[in-house]
Amino acid sequence: MPVSLSKGGNVSLSKEAPGLTAVTVGLGWDARATDGADFDLDASVFICGEDGKIMSDADFVFYNNKVGAAGAVEHQGDNRTGQGDGDDEAVKVDLARLPANVRKLVFAVTIHEAEARKQSFGQVSNAFIRVVNQAGGAEIVRYDLSEDYGTESAMIFGEVYKNGEDWKFKAVGQGYAGGLAPLASAHGVNLG
């Protein structure tokens, strides 16, 4: 049975799925049903060290830089394969191949041109993040954010982090006003 988390909750992936080596992190939301500009949502991953910041710009994985941590983190782009049923975007993470200095993967979603389009997460329905065991495809944990956002245009959905030898997942639901830039800065990305 997958674990359903609410904001702030966490679960040990290693305990829920013994022998876990690789996961797919799926992120989803409902397409807009009303008229107006579409919501263009982009997922990104910050591969962070001990201090909660990325170690190099290559550790910022997004639509323009789809691979990080020497191939251990792979952004699947728009999920058009049907894999990971219901996910709009998916990121494959080979936990076993992650460098030892990686302590945390932060999964965020931003609304493209949110300000110009006057959009915010509150107008997006049924956003979620889930972690799926690549071996067997079982969902381990899911976090439904829909009650935890409002006027933000960038959100950290969740993070996968190392606690001792265990990999854990935390439901974050933290919003940032102003989109990707302040979020990226907070994680040590040099936006130059």
Partner: protein
């Protein structure tokens, strides 16, 4: 008070909510606020779950449209009384016939009273003509409010299907289902003219009481404009009468309009009047015509006969409400015309506005004679007398108006005058 911008949500206290939606008004366009009671699928269970001007209650009164006036619409929601399957009550605003966009309005607020959050929806720059304002929804055993602020450019026609409400295309009235069509027309009319809708419903009661099943007829109002009618026109009592004839016309008529004729010394074809014009009819008549010295029923009957000889290709029954306060000067012509008209699909209802007093007996006498006129194919006329056309209640008036009509329908049908 916590103000929620679009997308934000907040917990509500309690389960009984009094909602004030301040939306202002747009010149030249009507704005309607509705509530949709939806399940987890985001859709209504049926059309009864839409609460709007045409249906002020949903879920047995758990959601009520309380009032709509002065740019503000009020609802009450007793969330505790909602069926368990209803997950949300969604409030929407639509601009009737897409005559404007929300851009024309200041921000719309949805307030639930002190101690509760309020939703604030900025409207500047909006292109939509239907807007989802806010929703009250279940969350973990309590209720929350979310400000939404999203909508549709296609107005109610686009919004309603979003919630699973079927909006039927307005089509010409199929003769086979006039009642269904009438319901639709009444819902549409209710917002513009609730008093007329109430009158139309009373007409329906009279029709049922008298066993009148024939649904369509043309309705004609023929008004005496002889000088002696002056006091009645000034009193506003003719306006009351016009409203009642309009209601009959709306219930019966093929086109929702009544044909108006005026007569005194001469006859005038005033034209047609519909739901938009009937309230001003007496005023318009007094602006365009002078009262005349003379009363000639025969000429009026002649003109009306000629009008429907050309203007009733379908052969529908024609109901003429013939209103006069005096005796006619062309009795022989009147009798000839009424006899000739008895072979035509026209029913003549004479209303004598006659107070008991000087010469009242003489004035009544001829109208009574017309009621029982000999030498006709069928009995095509009825007469009733009133001192004050506004005195009877709506129900009494419609009963008077419908007296003998069904008998005529039956006789005219048997005689092959009506198909």
């Amino acid at each position: 008070m916590q103000h929620l911008t679009p997308g934000a949500n907040a917990a509500l206290t309690g389960t009984a909510f009094s909602i004030a939606i301040r939306h202002g008004a747009i010149a030249g366009a009507d704005l309607d606020v509705s509530a949709f009671l939806v399940t987890a699928s985001g859709k209504v269970r049926g059309d009864a779950d839409m609460v709007f001007y045409g249906q002020a209650e949903g879920a047995g009164g758990a959601v009520r449209l309380i009032s709509s006036a002065g740019g503000e619409t009020r609802f009450s929601v007793d969330a505790g009384a909602l069926p368990a399957e209803i997950e949300k009550v969604v409030f929407t605003a639509t601009i009737h016939e897409n005559k404007a966009t929300f851009d024309a309005l200041p921000p719309i607020t949805v307030e639930l009273g002190s101690g509760q959050p309020a939703a604030v929806l900025p409207c500047a720059g909006r292109t939509e003509t239907a807007l989802i304002l806010a929703e009250i929804y279940r969350r973990g055993g309590t209720w929350k409010l979310r400000a939404v602020g999203q909508g549709f450019n296609g107005g109610l026609a686009a919004l309603a299907p979003h919630f699973g409400v079927v909006v039927e295309e307005s089509a010409p009235a199929p003769a086979a289902t006039p009642k269904v069509n009438l319901e639709k027309r009444l819902v549409d009319l209710a917002k513009r003219d609730p008093e007329l809708v109430s009158l139309v419903k009373k007409v329906q009661v009279s029709l049922e009481k008298k066993g009148i099943t024939r649904d369509r007829a043309k309705v004609c109002l023929c008004l005496d404009i002889s000088g002696s009618m002056d006091r009645l026109y000034r009193s506003g009592k003719i306006d009351v009468l016009v409203s009642r004839v309009m209601a009959l016309g709306y219930r019966f008529d093929d086109d929702g309009e009544i044909d108006v004729f005026l007569f005194g010394q001469n006859v005038h074809e005033f034209g047609t009047v519909g739901v938009d014009g009937y309230r001003a009819l007496v005023r318009d008549i007094s602006r365009q015509y002078r009262l005349e010295g003379g009363t000639r029923y025969g000429k009026a009957i002649q003109a009306i006969r000629a009008f429907y000889a050309k203007g009733n290709a379908e052969g529908l029954p024609v109901y003429v409400m013939f209103v006069t306060d005096g005796a006619t000067e062309d009795k022989p012509l009147t009798e000839r015309e009424l006899r000739a008209a008895s072979a035509e699909p026209i029913f003549w209802k004479f209303m004598g506005l006659i107070e008991k007093g000087f010469f009242s007996a003489q004035r009544l006498e001829f109208l009574e004679k017309l009621d029982d006129l000999t030498g006709r194919t069928v009995d095509n006329a009825d007469f009733f007398q009133l001192a004050d056309p506004a005195a009877p209640s709506d129900e009494e008036m419609f009963d008077l108006m419908m007296t003998e009509y069904q008998d005529w329908i039956a006789a005219a049908t048997a005689a092959g005058i009506l198909r």
